[in-house]
């Protein structure tokens, strides 16, 4: 009785698909072929896009861009598992998540070109804009889950975060609420081992992020984030828990950021090449391809065709993106309040006068059309 153990906890890790494409059949989520192929196709498209986005940035045709190279599974698959009526909030490193929900690449490009018109999600989805402030969306996610719980329609909330973001107090307060109120929310830690130049090992002294769940009375699980089957399976579990009123999940997906933090970063300053090489062997795309090959669903010809189609799709999207007219500066005044207060009406007129002056001076040649709601 004196020094007694009063709580015992375990944290588990899920892996299903091995690097060579073989799998643990006991845990196989038995995805149908169509789904597997759809995921594979999206992964190829995403990778094609990612590569091109980086090039565009180098050519000065895009702003700073955060690559998702190597995180295709941890990005796409969780989003893919949702229903439109579920909520999703990715991070800035979320092109794959949004793509998994049906957002068009042209809109992702607009956003990273610094154009507010990129914020366009499929109408039927409950998608949210990402938060550039790391962790800034997590308590909001708890609030959406609270609403979902009150709605009683079985919706869940999926909030992505990075390994770095786990250190923010926001996660703590969000998990406290989620645990206490038994909220249908999945906090999905894409542990890509780096927060810019700060490694996972320097972020937190605990063995896993998943085990943090125990501090809040929520379910925690780690999975191989480059393993499409493990991620799918873990997500199914987390989603079911949410839909069935069993509360929140903290799901850690172990993956690796294969690219620089963003195009503004140079990772060679702070990390070893050997690390990259080791992780290249665990490439999620390659692994799924090998599995599809064992299922006789993929071969070099089909793969090449998918790559070609993906390139064409990305070309199309880039064209559409670049065809957007310049935004009208006055649009920044739209949608700040349901009804713009007088001060904003006045300020907008000031901007209008400035624009007229610039037109008179020839600094602006033509004013683009107006969008958005004002006043």
């Amino acid at each position: 009785m004196p020094l007694k153990t009063i709580v015992r906890q375990e944290t588990q890790r899920l892996e299903i698909l091995r690097y060579d494409g073989s799998l643990d059949s006991e845990l196989d989520p038995h995805l149908d072929r169509k789904t597997l192929l759809e995921i594979y196709q999206k992964m190829i498209e995403l990778r094609a896009f990612d590569e091109r986005a980086i090039k565009l940035q180098r050519q000065g045709r895009l702003g700073t861009y955060p690559s998702v190279l190597g995180q295709e599974v941890s990005q796409l698959v969780p989003a893919f598992c949702l229903k439109p009526s579920d909520w999703m909030i990715p991070t800035y490193r979320g092109t794959g998540a949004y793509y998994g929900r049906g957002m068009k690449f042209r809109h992702s490009l607009l956003v990273w070109a610094g154009d507010d018109r990129g914020t366009v999600f499929p109408e039927e989805n409950r998608d949210m804009t990402f938060s550039i402030t790391v962790g800034g969306h997590l308590t909001l996610a708890a609030g959406l889950a609270w609403a979902a719980k009150l709605e009683k329609k079985g919706a869940v909330v999926l909030a992505y975060l990075g390994d770095g973001a786990t250190s923010k107090g926001d996660l703590h307060e969000a998990l406290t609420f989620a645990g206490m109120m038994n909220l249908p929310v999945i906090f999905l830690v894409e542990n890509n081992q780096w927060a810019i130049s700060v490694s996972r090992q320097k972020q937190c002294a605990a063995e896993t992020f998943a085990q943090k769940a125990h501090g809040y009375g929520v379910f925690g699980l780690q999975a191989d984030g480059n393993d499409v089957l493990a991620v799918f399976s873990a997500m199914q579990q987390a989603i079911s828990r949410g839909r069935e009123g069993k509360g929140a999940t903290l799901l850690e997906l172990e993956t690796y950021r294969m690219a620089n933090h963003t195009t503004a970063d140079d990772a060679s300053r702070y990390r070893a090449k050997t690390d990259l090489e080791a992780w290249a062997k665990r490439d999620p795309l390659l692994r799924l391809r090998r599995y599809l090959e064992t299922l006789k669903l993929m071969d070099e010809t089909r793969h090449q065709e998918l790559v070609k189609n993906a390139e064409a799709l990305v070309d199309e999207e880039i064209k559409a993106y670049e065809a957007f007219p310049e935004p009208n500066p006055l649009d920044m005044f739209a949608n700040n309040y349901a009804n713009a207060p007088k001060a904003l009406i006045e300020q907008r007129s000031e901007l209008e006068a400035l624009l007229e002056r610039k037109m008179r001076l020839g600094e602006i040649v033509e004013m683009p059309p107006l969008e958005g709601r004002f006043p």
């Binding site: 909520w87 507010d116 914020t119 409950r126 804009t129 909001l140 708890a142 609420f177």
Partner: protein, 332 residues
């Protein structure tokens, strides 16, 4: 009760707030009250008294002690169609939500191009003079007023408190609602029984006058009225303007009054430098320079940490300080 008879009773300010909450919760199922101790305890000032019993634990929710969790939850709830009214227990704990307020609260409507709106209210007591510990007597309005995309309200009478709170709850955008805690019980006045709105963004002349405009909000309005009374006894005609809403600022009302009197004094409780009074002072001089018979005068807290309560009455402007300042303005 028939539709035409307007029944009115005396309520104190906290009673008016309580009534506004109750009536809006009755009217609109989407209204949810959340915060620390708002449930069984009815709030530390009893503003939510009786709501838990009346509307149950799903709509009146005691949260964990986590202000980012509170504001984040309220934001999520509002985006999903609810109308949360969250309480931050004291003004001095609102810094815990600044991160969300500055970075996200007022931005999401614009960021999502109007797709999502955040019809939520953040209620918080405001100001000093109740002999409370540190952080219980703060006036943090400037931090909020400088932040785009939100509105900031601070009533000074039970009547305004009820109407403005109802308007805030119905407002499609986030409203920060400061309640002068010194007035919770001290301010009593007639309040209509039925629900009504008072338009956000409109100041109110509390005393008419022609020689000096005193501009204020919250509990300081009462101090202004007392000072104005004293001045009028000495033959000076003072107009007292109760802003009621801080953003959007009712510049029309301010300029109208100052154009008439030619003299303006702005009184408030916050550290004076960089306060919301600075904005008002700047606007007046920038827009009505030629009407001014004297420089605008601000009377606020000193630019130091507010001392513990034994000395708070020397930190927060009192009638004497307002009189001194008025004399200076009038003598210019």
């Amino acid at each position: 009760m028939t539709g035409t008879v307007v029944r009115t009773r005396e309520l104190n300010l906290v009673g008016a707030i309580n009534e506004a909450l109750r009536q809006e919760m009755e009217k609109d199922e989407r209204v949810i009250v959340l915060g620390e101790d708002v449930g069984k305890n009815g709030g530390v000032f009893r503003a939510t008294e009786g709501l838990f019993e009346r509307f149950g634990s799903e709509r009146v929710v005691d949260t964990p002690l986590a202000e980012l969790g509170i504001i984040g939850s309220a934001m999520g709830l509002s985006i999903a169609g609810f109308r949360p009214v969250c309480e931050i227990q004291f003004d001095g704990f609102t810094p815990s939500i600044f991160d969300q307020v500055v970075s996200h609260l007022g931005r999401i409507r614009n960021r999502t191009r109007g797709r999502y709106s955040l019809p939520l209210v953040i209620r918080s007591p405001h100001g000093g003079l109740i002999h409370a510990p540190e952080h219980h007597s703060e006036s943090p309005e400037a931090y909020f007023c400088h932040t785009p995309g939100i509105k900031v309200v601070c009533p000074s009478t039970p009547e305004d408190a009820k109407g403005l709170l109802i308007a805030a709850i119905r407002d499609p955008d986030p409203v920060v609602f400061f309640e002068p805690k010194a007035l919770y019980r001290a301010s009593r006045g007639p309040v209509k029984e039925e629900p009504y709105e008072i338009e956000i963004g409109k100041a109110r002349v509390r005393m008419e006058g022609s020689e000096l405009t005193m501009i204020s909000w919250g509990a300081m309005v009462g101090t202004c009225l007392k000072a104005a009374e004293r001045l009028s006894q000495n033959g000076t005609s003072v107009e007292v303007l109760d802003l009621r809403t801080l953003t959007p600022l009712d510049l029309d009302a301010i300029l109208k009054s100052v154009s008439k009197t030619g003299r303006a004094l702005i009184a408030h409780e916050a550290p004076n430098s960089g306060s919301w009074a600075a904005e008002i002072s700047a606007e007046i001089s920038e827009r009505a320079l030629t009407n001014l018979k004297a420089p605008v005068k601000r009377v606020g807290g000193w630019d130091i940490r507010m001392p513990l309560f034994r000395l708070e009455r020397y930190y927060i402007p009192d009638v004497d300080r307002l009189l001194m300042a008025s004399e200076e303005v009038l003598a210019f």
